[in-house]
């Protein structure tokens, strides 16, 4: 069964450079720097222990996929990485999440600072009901950039970075809500790029998109990883196999297995991982 899955993966990704191959190369070469090092991290929603003793070391310029059945804590985990989870008042945490060596859970760490370095793309496209231009310029503006020329350049660079410049360059002043769902999602990615983050968190960014838009976003992720570290939650196993270098399998709030994507999909160490990726439960 697992072998079969792998075959289809290989076939599907034959024309894109398979990330697992790239990882295969890179493992032999230098170990990359750590961006997010999570140590013994726990999180509760009131009495509900949603994340249990998480230990994960996420490296830079890689795509890290987080997979697992619904309700296992994937969204909770990536929202913990930019402390968005704190918007839920009943949340309590302990342990450590070190971002580039500094524990973001320390009271002295300003969330605003963290979130300008760690951008986020959400499951449902959520552009502001403003023009495309104002959407992209939102981030730079809140960080104090007022110069029109600089803003123009950032907007163009970000839209190009999100592979949507050609589609929208003639209607930057139109409302972003006039775009299709897939375009809106790429606008949101561009908006995230405009704050020039270090890490991009993506929570099921393609779950509301059609196959073609999905493909575009996936290709985009591939391009972006040269300059950014990307952590992506996905329900789609093929997607994880196609685009990620490493994969973490979550189950009931625990990390069952975390390894190079090709290893996870070919020779998982844990029986539960094998069961999940072969579709036997979840």
């Amino acid at each position: 069964m697992v072998e079969l899955m792998n075959k289809t993966n290989k076939q599907e990704t034959a024309n894109i450079k398979t990330p697992s191959q790239i990882v295969g190369e890179s493992t032999k070469s230098v170990e990359r720097n750590s961006v997010f090092n999570t140590k013994n991290f726990n999180l509760w929603y009131g009495d509900h222990h949603a994340l249990k003793d998480i230990n994960l070391d996420i490296r830079e310029n890689e795509v890290t996929a987080i997979i697992g059945p619904s309700g296992c804590g994937k969204s909770t985990y990536i929202k913990a990485l930019n402390r968005m989870v704190e918007l839920v008042p009943i949340v309590k945490t302990n342990g450590e999440i070190n971002y580039r060596g500094r524990n973001i859970l320390e009271a002295s760490y300003e969330v605003e600072e963290l979130r300008t370095r760690v951008g986020m793309v959400f499951q449902k496209p959520n552009p502001f009901p403003k023009s495309i231009y104002d959407n992209i310029a939102y981030g730079p503006r809140i960080h104090g950039i007022k110069n029109k020329k600089v803003l123009d350049e950032i907007v163009e660079k970000s839209l190009r970075g999100a592979a949507i410049w050609d589609e929208v360059k003639d209607r930057l002043n139109q409302n972003a809500y006039g775009l299709s769902g897939g375009q809106q999602q790429r606008i949101c990615i561009a908006r995230c790029l405009a704050i020039e983050p270090d890490v991009i968190l993506m929570d099921e960014p393609t779950s509301a998109l059609d196959p073609i838009s999905t493909l575009k976003v996936e290709e985009l992720v591939q391009e972006l990883k040269d300059n950014y570290s990307i952590i992506i939650v996905t329900h789609n196993m093929q997607q994880a196999a196609r685009i990620s270098d490493k994969t973490a399998f979550f189950l009931n709030g625990e990390v069952v297995e975390f390894d190079h994507t090709d290893k996870i999909f070919s020779t998982p160490k844990d029986q539960r991982t094998e069961d999940y990726i072969s579709g036997r439960f979840g």
Binding site: L87, Y138, G139, I142, R191, C192
Partner: protein, 292 residues
């Protein structure tokens, strides 16, 4: 096995359709009755009052003679009163709404405050008049002035503005705030750049409707002891004044028949003022409404 028996369904179809049309008739009659009353009222007022609507009517002060009675002091008094109520009630109301929705922790204390605000919206206006009389007229020694009445009326409509603003703020999708916070925006930046622009139409609509309630209100002013007739224009915040509803009330209770017509003319003016305010509210809602 089938649970739904076709023959039974067909047998009951006729009576179901009949009930359907009976209820439709009942609702139609209710609407017609309401509209009819309104039309009769309007027609009566317009036919009675329109004869008195001329330049002199707008330019004269109150008088013992119906032909000489005018609405100048009352109209200007009402407008000035509104100019006090609008900023006072909106700054306090929107501020409170922002605090409760965006900053306050959700605990027993805030839900207690919340409950009281909703209850205050239902307190009879005359009670607010008594409050204003005690606090503004007597304790703060503002007298029967524009300022005292403006503060009293602001308090009266404050709960309505708070609740309307809270609803408008709450209607801004959570995803919009997340997008803003996710880029490192502070709470204040998120409120001014995302929440308020989206909530402003709702806030303004609610506030203008509340304001028009204040413009038509008499009871609290009667309690404050605001004069019903005045021969001069207010010359400052602490000056005496009168308003349209008070003036109309005074004319309507006079024995001479001609004053009934003068009162009707006053009502027309008041109604035009209210229609203008409501149209502004509708215009703002349609113009700035954001769809997600």
């Amino acid at each position: 096995m089938k649970y739904i028996d076709d023959t039974v369904v067909m047998k009951r179809m006729k009576s179901r359709l009949k009930y359907n049309s009976i209820w439709k008739m009942i609702f139609l009659i209710a609407t017609t009755l309401a509209l009819l009353t309104l039309v009769i009222l309007l027609v009566r007022i317009v036919t009675q009052g329109s004869g008195y609507l001329n330049w002199d009517f707008f330019n004269n002060f109150g008088s013992r003679f119906p032909e000489k009675a005018g609405i100048k002091a009352a109209l200007i008094g009402s407008v000035l009163l509104m100019l006090i109520i609008a900023p006072v009630s909106m700054i306090l109301g929107v501020g409170t709404a922002i605090y409760l929705e965006e900053y306050a922790k959700k605990n027993k204390f805030t839900s207690f405050i919340q409950m009281n605000i909703s209850n205050l919206a239902g307190v009879p206006s005359i009670v607010f008049g008594l409050l204003g009389l005690t606090i503004f007229v007597r304790m703060l020694v503002l007298g029967k002035s524009l300022l005292a009445a403006g503060f009293t009326m602001s308090l009266l409509i404050l709960p309505v503005i708070i609740v309307a603003s809270q609803e408008a703020i709450r209607a801004v999708p959570k995803e919009q705030r997340e997008a803003s916070y996710g880029m490192g925006a502070t709470k204040w930046q998120t409120i001014t750049r995302v929440v308020l622009p989206a909530a402003i139409p709702g806030i303004l609509t609610g506030s203008i409707l509340a304001l028009s309630r204040a413009v038509g209100e008499t009871a609290p002013l009667v309690v404050l002891g605001i004069p019903v007739i005045l021969q001069f224009l207010p010359d400052g915040l602490l000056s005496q004044f009168t308003t349209l509803p008070l003036q109309i009330y005074d004319w309507a209770k006079r024995p001479q028949e001609a004053f009934q017509y003068v009162a009707s003319a006053g009502i027309i003016v008041l109604m035009i003022l209210l229609v203008i305010m409501n149209s502004i509210a509708i215009f703002i809602r349609n113009k700035f409404q954001k769809r997600y």
